[in-house]
């Protein structure tokens, strides 16, 4: 009896097998035929064979060209051809750094995949799909590969965007091809894992438009739904489920869950949703240790301190920081990465590269006051963030920056934090106005942030002083009375004004610190964390900071 894997290979590659067999047969016949010829005719045949082959190839190319142009609508159709390769990945649980909770959940999924028979025996429902949600660069693909490795199944991977094509029906055809390949692999190996990255490209909520503008996305998604349903229907003659049905679909997306079509999220399709978050402090430490292990680094480097500094950084960000730090170290003629290399790398990534702009002294001074204002308010009033750097060197689209980071991950914000954010945003404006009497366009971004926060506090977070509770943005605007709107806006403005007054008072009070910061900035252009800390200590304003 032919082993199942051989049957699978025959099914999957029968065209190639047939071509190879025909070619071998033709070559054998040609050799026999040539050997039966006298040497003169044999030599003549061999001598003319290259030209004949060339002519035949040329004819074939011309024929295919004409056929494609006139009969099939051009070569662009060829791009519709799908190539799906089942791959056997070798990524173990131990290779997935951090994400212990997620790993535990994924481990359970693996157990379910491997123990399908038992699950069925007790009448449990077999898992069909797993949806991974989370921000980019957090290791969703990596985790999917680890699931494949641990379950010992082949892994077929495609990106959602690969299904998207201008031609209607192409996406659906690709979905069919993907599942056909998966079924073949499942037949040979007893199961298969299909991983669709960037699932949102085909899994967005379907739009049922009379104009048919979104039919392609709809049809692709419909096909995906049909394939996922169809998996349950394959049974052999004895009524037992056939191995072709053992397919687990893992989808990954960074789009919010409610952006995805509900039909996909219902049980029987993507049964289980795994939320993958950015790594916590402990995971970041592990990630730094892992990536630093791949490069030469100063052994005195405190991985914990790095992890604390890299709040909200994804694993991909951390990998990038180490990569960038290695470049910085090389540029500085160092054999090993040091803390300052990593700091510079993080700044380069977060703040962008420095720009060589020729600013007037007035512009520089305005920027210095603006940033110093931010820094003073941030340092004294902000409950969660630290000032890590103040700079009046232009970067990206700004003339200066006050670089702050939260001391730890925050998953919810308090009223104090939001008010402090507004005050920090307004501080640049107040500082400019105090010094020059007029302000620059540099405040536009700050105002936008402050207004947005204040508006949210009143309209949707119930954080105004008055009794306006509820999310007024959930109500259609036409159903909100003008009077209420006015009151809400007045509350927003009130928050704004209160914050403004508080900032003005603070900056007047702390003018010596402000002036000191401005002078130092104009002299040095950039102030590091320690220098900022020293200035505030000098004025007796030091507060307890985290030890990074």
């Amino acid at each position: 009896m032919i082993p199942r894997k051989w049957k699978m290979y025959l099914k999957m590659y029968w065209v190639k097998f047939a071509i190879v067999a025909v070619v071998i047969l033709l070559v054998a016949l040609a050799v026999i035929g040539l050997n039966s010829l006298e040497s003169y005719y044999r030599n003549i045949t061999l001598a003319t064979m290259p030209v004949n082959l060339l002519m035949v190839s040329l004819n074939a190319i011309i024929f295919v060209y004409m056929y494609m142009i006139f009969m099939r609508g051009g070569f662009s159709k060829l791009s519709q051809k799908l190539r799906v390769h089942g791959e056997f990945v070798n990524i173990k649980w131990s290779d997935v750094i951090g994400m212990e909770n997620v790993k535990a959940e994924a481990m359970e999924v693996v157990q379910l995949i491997m123990d399908r028979a038992r699950v069925k025996k007790i009448g449990g429902k077999i898992l069909r799909g797993i949806l991974m949600l989370g921000p980019p660069g957090c290791g969703k693909t990596y985790l999917a590969k680890a699931i494949a490795t641990e379950s010992g199944l082949p892994f077929v991977s495609m990106s959602g965007s690969e299904f998207v094509e201008i031609f209607v029906g192409v996406g659906a055809a690709r979905v069919r091809a993907l599942f056909k390949k998966a079924r073949e692999l499942a037949y040979g190996y007893g199961g298969c894992i299909v991983f669709i990255d960037e699932l949102d490209a085909i899994a967005r909520k379907r739009v049922f438009s009379a104009f048919g503008g979104t039919e392609e996305t709809n049809s692709t998604q419909n096909q995906l739904l049909a394939e996922m349903d169809g998996l349950q229907e394959l049974k052999d003659k004895s009524g037992e489920p056939r191995p072709e049905q053992n397919i687990i679909i893992i989808g990954a997306t960074n789009a919010p869950e409610d952006m995805l079509d509900r039909a996909l999220r219902r049980p029987g399709r993507f049964d289980r949703i795994i939320y993958i978050e950015k790594p916590g402090l402990e995971d970041r430490e592990k990630l730094f240790a892992y990536y630093l292990g791949k490069v030469q680094y100063d052994k005195l480097l405190d991985v914990g301190r790095l992890a604390r500094k890299a709040v909200y950084k994804s694993p991909a960000d951390i990998e990038n920081i180490i990569k960038e730090a290695a470049l910085v170290a090389t540029r500085n003629d160092r054999d090993a990465i040091r803390l300052e290399d990593i700091s510079e790398a993080m700044e380069r990534i977060d703040l962008g590269l420095k720009r060589q702009l020729t600013m007037t002294p007035r512009e520089k001074e305005t920027t210095a006051y603006h940033e110093a204002g931010h820094a003073v308010v941030l340092y004294i009033l902000h409950p969660t963030n630290d000032v890590f750097k103040i700079s009046i060197i232009p970067r990206k689209d700004t003339l200066g920056v006050t670089y702050s980071q939260p001391k730890e991950e925050l998953y919810s914000y308090t009223k104090d934090k939001l008010l402090a954010d507004i005050k920090v945003s307004l501080a640049g404006y107040v500082a400019e106005k105090m010094r020059f009497g007029v302000t620059s366009t540099g405040v536009s971004g700050d105002f936008k942030d402050a207004t947005r926060i204040a508006h949210s506090m009143v309209w949707s977070l119930g954080m105004s002083g008055a009794e306006f509770l509820g999310d007024y943005t959930a109500i259609p605007e036409s159903q909100i009375s003008e009077d209420l709107k006015e009151k809400l806006n007045q509350e927003t403005d009130k928050i704004f004004q209160l914050c403004l007054k508080e900032v003005e008072a603070l900056l007047i009070k702390e003018k010596p610190i402000l002036e000191k910061l401005v002078n130092d900035l104009l002299a040095k252009e950039e102030l590091e964390y320690d220098e900022v800390e020293a200035i505030f200590m000098e004025f007796g304003k030091a507060r307890t900071k985290s030890a990074w």
Binding site: V27, V31, A60
Partner: protein
């Protein structure tokens, strides 16, 4: 593009496999050539032949029954057998490492052995025909076919007549003829088969060309409307003579003047010279033959001759010069 690359790669692999697995060695090695020809003729065509080689020429003797009909034309069965033997000779000559330049088939009727058909072919001409480098018509003109009385038989007959008149014993007649009147031929025209013996020599390209040009001149005088009305060709002989440091093609033409369209004596001679030189130029150029110093045409009737150098002949062929501007 990837698909095209794959197809071309597959073609190349197939070709290399075919070439590597078949090899390019000769089918008929030099040492087995005679047996090969005789074997093919016997096995494939049921014809018994004798084969002899002389340097770069292969000779095949083919005895037949009913070679000619009452009108001295080849009979159909004889013609088929001769063609089969010629084809066999070509197959072997092309697929051997013996490097033959010519092959010659000598056929005669066993009832009338004195009358022989001698067919001489240049192996390179055959190769060029198969490669479509020359037309079939041109190829046929390049073949020497001669129906002739065996020169050796003729010679022996004369001697035997004398011996008979002398009442010499038959046994002695044969002995004397064998000892004193059997010699290797000096020219292509002497090649033949007589009394179980080949009379052969190595054929050189130069003498083959001389014979071929003479043959073509004969055909031209017979077929060209311009010439056949004016002349009645009696004979055209071609020979190549290499003496000391002079190599000469000489063509002797004997043509009687016809009744219609004849001009003056000189004009008629010039027409013969013109046609003969034109033919010589064409043939020598066709074979890229340069191993000669002069071409001479002799009009036997008028006793006039013309001798041209290779350069003059080439210019005349290219119609760059006229007849009165060349020769001496």
């Amino acid at each position: 593009m990837v698909g095209i690359k794959k197809v071309l790669l597959l073609c190349a692999i197939c070709y290399i496999l075919c070439a590597a697995l078949t090899g390019c060695g000769p089918t008929y090695p030099k040492k087995n050539v005679k047996e090969a020809v005789a074997g093919i003729c016997t096995q494939e065509y049921g014809v018994n032949v004798k084969v002899e080689t002389y340097d770069k020429t292969m000779f095949i003797y083919l005895p037949l029954k009913g070679l000619l009909d009452y009108s001295f034309n080849l009979t159909r069965p004889a013609s088929e057998k001769i063609n089969n033997v010629i084809f066999t000779a070509a197959r072997v000559a092309l697929s051997t490492d013996a490097k033959f330049d010519f092959y010659c088939v000598i056929a005669h009727d066993i009832k009338m052995p004195e009358l022989q058909i001698v067919i001489i072919k240049n192996v390179e001409d055959v190769r060029r025909l198969f490669a479509s480098d020359i037309s079939r018509g041109e190829y046929m003109k390049r073949v020497l076919i001669d129906l002739r009385w065996s020169p050796q038989a003729k010679k022996e007959q004369v001697v035997k007549d004398i011996f008979n008149k002398m009442n010499l014993d038959q046994k002695w007649q044969d002995q004397i003829i064998s000892d004193f009147f059997r010699s290797e031929p000096a020219a292509i025209s002497d090649i033949g088969y007589w009394n179980d013996r080949f009379y052969i020599k190595d054929i050189t390209l130069a003498e083959f060309l001389a014979e071929q040009i003479a043959n073509r001149i004969k055909i031209e005088f017979r077929e060209s409307k311009d010439l056949k009305d004016i002349f009645l060709l009696k004979s055209a002989k071609g020979l190549y003579a290499a003496r000391k440091d002079r190599r000469l093609f000489r063509f002797e033409i004997m043509a009687e003047r016809g009744a219609i369209g004849a001009g003056t004596t000189i004009e008629n001679s010039d027409k013969i010279f013109e046609k003969a030189l034109s033919m010589a130029g064409h043939v020598l150029h066709g074979y890229h033959f340069k191993d000669y110093d002069a071409v001479e045409v002799f009009d036997q009737r008028e006793g006039r001759s013309i001798e041209v150098t290779p350069e003059e002949l080439e210019n005349f062929r290219m119609k760059k010069v006229k007849l009165n501007e060349i020769g001496k």
